[in-house]
Each structure stands twice: as structure tokens, then as C-alpha cells.
């Protein structure tokens, strides 16, 4: 039982680290702003979600597990809002200090 749990946790954390690495690679290598935004949101949502899913079985009490899930939901919310704002300002070109 324990070894199964460890294997699943290792796989989930490894997959999360892989998504973070791919997202960083995309942010550094992709050619323009919207492509980079696409790579960034994948790393944000999926990478952190997988890492937190791998950590959840090791949480000592249910409140800590609840806090971890809450952090993930908060990151998804703020990441979506921030990416939307950046893309909107970049598309309309009316950001005050975004694009010059």
C-alpha cells in the first residue's frame, strides 16, 4: 500500500515538474507574446495542479489538504485573470506601460 502510494506520488510530482520545465522552455523559446502566454498558462494550471495532487496524500491533516487545493484554485483564478488582462492590453494596444 505504502509503495503504491509512493509510486503514484512520484509519478504525479514528476509529471508536474515536466510541465513546469516545458512551460519554461516555451516561455524562453517561443517567438511572440501570445505564444508565450499559451506556454505560460499550461505550466501554471497543469504543472502546479499535478504537483499538488502528488503532495495531497502526504498532508498530515485534512485542513492542510484543503489549503493546498485552495492554493491551486487561487492560482488558476489569478493566472486566468492576469493572462486575460495581458492579452487584452496587448491586442488593443492601450496598455499604459505594457508594450513600448
Amino acid at each position: 500500500m505504502e509503495i503504491l502510494l509512493e509510486t503514484v506520488s512520484l509519478l504525479l510530482v514528476g509529471a508536474g515538474a515536466f510541465f513546469f520545465a516545458v512551460g519554461t522552455l516555451g516561455l524562453v523559446r517561443l517567438p511572440d507574446l501570445f505564444c508565450r502566454l499559451h506556454a505560460l498558462t499550461k505550466a501554471d494550471n497543469l504543472g502546479l495542479g499535478l504537483v499538488i495532487a502528488g503532495l495531497l496524500p502526504w498532508a498530515a491533516d485534512p485542513f492542510l489538504a484543503l489549503k493546498l487545493v485552495l492554493i491551486w484554485l487561487l492560482v488558476m483564478l489569478s493566472g486566468a485573470t492576469g493572462s486575460y488582462l495581458i492579452a487584452k492590453r496587448a491586442l488593443r494596444g492601450d496598455g499604459e506601460d505594457l508594450l513600448e
Binding site: 509512493e6 506520488s9 512520484l10 510530482v13 514528476g14 508536474g16 515538474a17 513546469f20 520545465a21 512551460g23 519554461t24 522552455l25 516561455l27 524562453v28 507574446l33 508565450r36 502566454l37 505560460l40 505550466a43 501554471d44 504543472g47 502546479l48 504537483v51 499538488i52 503532495l55 502526504w58 498530515a60 492542510l64 489549503k67 493546498l68 485552495l70 492554493i71 487561487l74 492560482v75 483564478l77 489569478s78 493566472g79 485573470t81 492576469g82 488582462l85 495581458i86 487584452k88 492590453r89 496587448a90 492601450d94 496598455g95 499604459e96 506601460d97 505594457l98 508594450l99 513600448e100
Partner: protein
């Protein structure tokens, strides 16, 4: 299990250091802010992994503050251009 978490934290810190390239060279401020956002999210993952590896659950609170303040700094950057004649 703590070794695995520490190893994952090391890998994530290396990707954070690679993502800093975009913050330093990024042509527009939007690119830099996206780099900072990615650093914040990866930092949350590193903090959680460290918290479980060191058995310090208080680091989850620090991760929560990271998540809150990423939204603040992105919103502070993406203001619309208003009041051009103010000096």
C-alpha cells in the same frame, strides 16, 4: 519520500533560473511580467515541496501569499492609458 520532494524542488529551481532569462532580456514589459508570473507559480510549487520535505506546514501560508501577490502585481502593470495630459 523527502529525497524525492527535495529532488523535485531542485529541478524546479533550475527551471526558475532558466525562466529568469525571459525577465532579463524580454523585449516588452508584458514579457517580463509573464516571466515574473511563471517564477511566482514555480515558487509556489517549490515552497510546497520544501514544506513537505522539511515537515514545515507553515510554508503553505507563504505559498498562499505568493498566489495572492502575483495577481496584485499583474493588475498593477496592466492599467489602461488614461489622463494623458497629467504630468
Amino acid at each position: 519520500m523527502s529525497e524525492i520532494f527535495t529532488a523535485a524542488a531542485v529541478v524546479l529551481v533550475l527551471t526558475m533560473a532558466a525562466g529568469l532569462v525571459r525577465v532579463v532580456v524580454g523585449p516588452t514589459p508584458a514579457d517580463r511580467m509573464m516571466g515574473v508570473q511563471l517564477i511566482g507559480t514555480t515558487g509556489i510549487a517549490v515552497l510546497l515541496l520544501l514544506g513537505f520535505a522539511f515537515e514545515m506546514p507553515a510554508l503553505a501560508d507563504v505559498a498562499l501569499v505568493f498566489a495572492l501577490l502575483a495577481a496584485v502585481s499583474v493588475t498593477a502593470l496592466t492599467r489602461r492609458r488614461v489622463g494623458q495630459d497629467r504630468s
